[in-house]
Amino acid sequence: MSLFNARSAGTIYKQELLRAFRTALQSILAPVLTTSLYFVVFGAAIGGQMQHGMDGVNYGAFIVPGLLLLTLLGESTSNASFGIYMPRFTGAIYELLSAPVGVAETLAGFVGAAATKSLILAAIILTTATLFVDYTIVHPFYALGFILLVSASFSLFGFILGIWADSFEKLSVVPMLILMPLTFLGGTFYSIDMLPQPWRTVALANPVVYLVNGLRWTFYGKSDVSIWLSLGLTLAFLAACVALIAFIFRTGWRLRN
């Protein structure tokens, strides 16, 4: 038997996507609606009053990458965390653990599905944004690659969260109390160059700053930080998540008694 069973991975992937479409109101419509409201309030209403824009970019367009990232981080994390937490909570995980399925199939299925949902969301949000603001994407292929990278990384992070959590409260604590504040303070709505010292230096300790700026560079070719540093940190985060998940599967932590 090979080390990777594509049919097993495909089965998990399909099941997870079906689960998302079964709860489309919550997993697709709700985040799209929330992001659209941000576009309306900050982009069209407030942004319309800002004559000079940001870094020469219209303010409504400036916040598009940040808002997209805000949704991607939250949804990738919560989709993947719920995907693995629910079978743990109900006990249905027995089927996965007793099947001839390893870490590769499990990740391809759960994380692949969560990342796919994020990509679908990204496409819907970017399409919806055109209704409220004019924006361009200077490097569309890099943008796609970066969105894919961020979606996969935070889906992996969400998978770890879903294994770590032993209650619904813990499941929502990280996205609500850590990810969202970091994203808001990570330059979603502003350029960190606008911040006075020492807050600008403090802001550089926020990892989301590098994600927002990485994606913003693919849109407008401008970034507050080095694009290579953004890419490097994102890849390092992805690698760390993969290593941690491999460790979890090897030790059975929170999965096998």
Binding site: S8, T90, S98
Partner: protein, 322 residues
Amino acid sequence: MTVHLPAMENILEIRGLTKTYKGGFTALNGVDLDIRKGEIFALLGPNGAGKTTLIGAVCGLVRPTSGTIQAFGEDMGRHWRRLRARIGLVPQELATDMFEPVMRSVTHSRGLFGLSPDPARIEAILKSLSLWDKRDTQIRALSGGMKRRVLIAKAMAHEPELLFLDEPTAGVDVELRRDMWQQIAEMRERGTTVILTTHYIEEAEEMADRVGIIRQGEILMVDDKDAIMKRLGRTEAHIVLTEPLSALPDAFSNYPITISDDGLTLTYRGGDGAGQGKADVAEITKALTRQGIDYQAIDQHESSLEDIFVDLVEGGRQEQMA
């Protein structure tokens, strides 16, 4: 690589299996157990005896502290991927995605084990479990008994050669329980080896070829059901006399008989669980008649597997308390 086993070869061999949890609780303590190909094996034990932990260790849900598990002649630790593909598990809890329709849930199980979709095979399984009419129904809308059948169907979807059923009839009414016994017997006829845990001794008596008794993580006994009955089975008879006797007549001294304090009841406890006890009681009543001792009632009871099980488990508890 498939290992071909000769007839009556062991399909599962467990040696020195121990599981100690972090808190220090030992759920399994040096378990040795062989399961023969094609048999129905019943693992009996009180709550917390280690039945589910033992199943979990074989199926990959529990990480053993020490010991070895060989399935189909190969080490489970090294070849888990190809061996798990040949093993099925029906858990004790009704745990699955309850919002899934029956057909899709069973098809998912087959895919999870890496097999291509086979609608005809799924249809046959669902029909054999009387679930075909419910194939498009969400599992949450089914009765408890039907949900348990869905779990069996899911476990059968990848056509396992070795099937674990953890308390398969827990919470199932009597009629459905007998129906499930029939299903399990049919699985064995199709060549599946079945290992089941149960609280219902009647279930083991009805179906099992061999029985294992586990208590506090240790296997107390494993044997053919009939051999256990023969070895540990007993007949108990109470003969109520019309007039009291002052002492037991000498004619009965060769039998395991006692007389009550009031001299009105003779109690026989003996036999071998294979008819010897009944024959003894018949001879005793004939001897009473020959000696002109009248009796008004005979209450006779053959010990069941349950009596033996209770004796073994209770005996163990008393040993511990002593």
